[in-house]
Symmetry: C2
Subunit: 341 residues, 2 copies
């Protein structure tokens, strides 16, 4: 009899078709490896050296306006540029490359250098979500753009080089790997069953309850059955939405509220500003119809046992499959407790 | 006209079918984010507190023998255990899990606590390779085992919790994600063209030369066209080999020699013990014939610009596709120079 809370097993990621190895009995393993510095440096409300603060100079010589809520501009070190030629090269199907034009944007969440999503009022987060929606719609209408990736890297551990609360938007001509996998799986599910994969999955999870972290009228945050990062979560709208352009005021409010709830639970969990990468997956912007696509958010946080002990995705994870020790169910339980904490 | 050394483009990983985004113009981006501690601590030749040193006590109460070259034992904190039930659970194809039995082994490269592959004589590395071969053959014959993953995590940055030179073997019942992708692509290539994907790729790379790092009679080390980590390399046998069981004495020597060459180049590059995860991909151990499978090694090192500045695989990389700034060609050029250095 397989016991998911004790025996080694693998779980299928329904969204990508890939597997994660779960070794619940291994949580007792002592840790003698690298620990992370605790980030206790007091952050000022305004930093004269910060290129994101209102009124300051940026790398390209522009001066930021004295913005009062959100602010968006073109990334000064954009990984993608609109005038890149779309040419392809292909030698024997083995040396294959294609020009990748695109656009990179930076979105400041607040003029306050020291504010984070977890401490912003929901009404302020609504302004961020509304701006994401506008940016998505503008890029979605751009014939150059085939996919829009909105993401935030929070904390030095996740490669953020500036504590000023902000996210990035990388809009590519082609569909990135992860989106492609999710497109295929969702298309297949709709084709074979006549229903939306994530609508079906959400219904199943709501019935079970054990992996739910928090919910409101429009959104549910849960630890997916196939989570790879220790405290990974997924944000799912209850109503079927393909992308931000379909969001009404109630959806915007619900997403802002659930973002507030999840980020506060994270900060409470280890009493530390919780590092993570997060972002939203939505239907491609290729002009086609994507009835199978269900908008959702992913949070990928690296911490495992405390503010200073992280999960390393290394050897077996890079060469084989991701591996985790604590189960999705126990992670959800601890996050639920952290909401009250 | 697309210029691969200047314009943003994506490259196809022929082995997995996934893409990597390359943004060569972005190397000028200043870095204000997290830097890593330099690991300058002097390591003793013998550490009385190390559970891998000869004669010392392990977590399970066993005492290590006074071994003189290599030493292998069952991992005391094994992620995989042989007696796990192989049962499956499946709810609507959305909550899918399967018991994953397996075996985890630990291989010490040397009794010396302070020695690394890069500083071991080739004759000593040959003993390590010969032991990998024995272990592979034993596990390959075990009906429980479907795939054998040999890997080393080197350095605290890569989650290694002990500097004693060692690697791990995780032998799983099922085929891990990465192996599965490579199986599919290699099978398709042989099916469509009648030749081996990696034999064809190696021939193309040897003709071009620009991504070759070093070579000997039996092996070639190169930066693959589709490398994701800044100084990623791949080790390819010139002769078609599916797995270690087909290795003769000359293959063992050639692999030991190329491992020595590559790890020395890495250590020279930033004058630091170079962190990495590395490991070998070989045909599955499912008892079937795998003529399409070409044995190879992967090195995934995180450092980008110096001993203290690493590449972060975060936001866009986790949610979209891996991204790199320096091209594979410039990385290969620098590694070639580091061999002489
Ligand atoms: O077993 P170790 O060396 O303690 O653990 C290390 O390698 C494992 C396999 O890649 C990873 O799962 C762990 O996160 C890492 O810390
Ligand atoms: O653009 P940033 O925030 O400086 O850079 C950060 O996010 C990027 C997108 O995920 C990554 O490629 C970089 O490695 C990371 O440091």
């Amino acid at each position: 009899m397989l016991r998911l809370q004790q025996d080694s097993h693998r779980r299928l990621n329904s969204l990508t078709g890939e597997w994660v190895l779960v070794s619940p009995h291994r949580t007792s393993r002592p840790w003698q490896g690298q620990t992370e510095a605790r980030e206790e440096i007091a952050i000022p409300a305004y930093d004269p050296g910060c290129y994101l603060c209102p009124g300051n100079l940026r790398a390209n010589g522009d001066r930021n306006p004295a913005y009062e809520d959100v602010f968006v501009f073109d990334n000064d070190y954009a990984a993608l540029l609109p005038d890149t030629p779309r040419e392809q090269t292909d030698e024997a199907g083995l040396i294959v490359a294609a020009g990748e034009p695109g656009r990179c944007r930076v979105v400041c969440f607040s003029p306050r250098h020291d504010l984070t999503l977890s401490r912003m009022p929901v009404a302020s987060i609504e302004k961020v979500v509304a701006l994401w929606r506008n940016e998505f719609m503008r890029l979605d209408a751009d014939p150059l753009i085939g996919a829009v990736q909105i993401f935030e890297n929070r904390g030095p551990m996740m490669g953020a080089s500036n504590p000023h609360p902000h996210c990035q938007i990388w809009a590519t001509h082609s569909e990135p790997n992860e989106l492609m996998k999710e497109s295929t799986r969702q298309r297949d599910h709709l084709g074979h069953r006549g229903s939306c994969l994530l609508c079906d999955y959400l219904a199943l999870e709501l019935e079970k309850g054990e992996r739910i972290v928090c919910e409101n009228d429009g959104f549910v945050a849960l630890v997916p059955f196939w989570a790879t990062w220790p405290f990974e979560t997924m944000l799912l709208p209850r109503r079927h939405r393909g992308a931000l352009d379909e969001f009404g005021a109630d959806d915007i409010h619900a997403l802002a509220d659930i973002l507030s709830g999840v980020t506060r639970a994270y900060d409470n969990l280890f009493s530390t500003p919780f590092p993570y990468s997060m972002g939203f997956h939505q239907r491609p912007s290729d002009g086609g119809a994507h009835p199978h696509w269900h908008f959702h958010g992913h949070f990928y946080p690296p911490l495992l046992r405390s503010a200073t002990i992280r999960k390393f995705m290394v050897g077996f994870e890079l060469l084989g499959s991701p591996q985790r020790d604590i189960t999705a169910e126990s992670a959800a339980e601890r996050l639920r407790a952290a909401i009250k904490g």
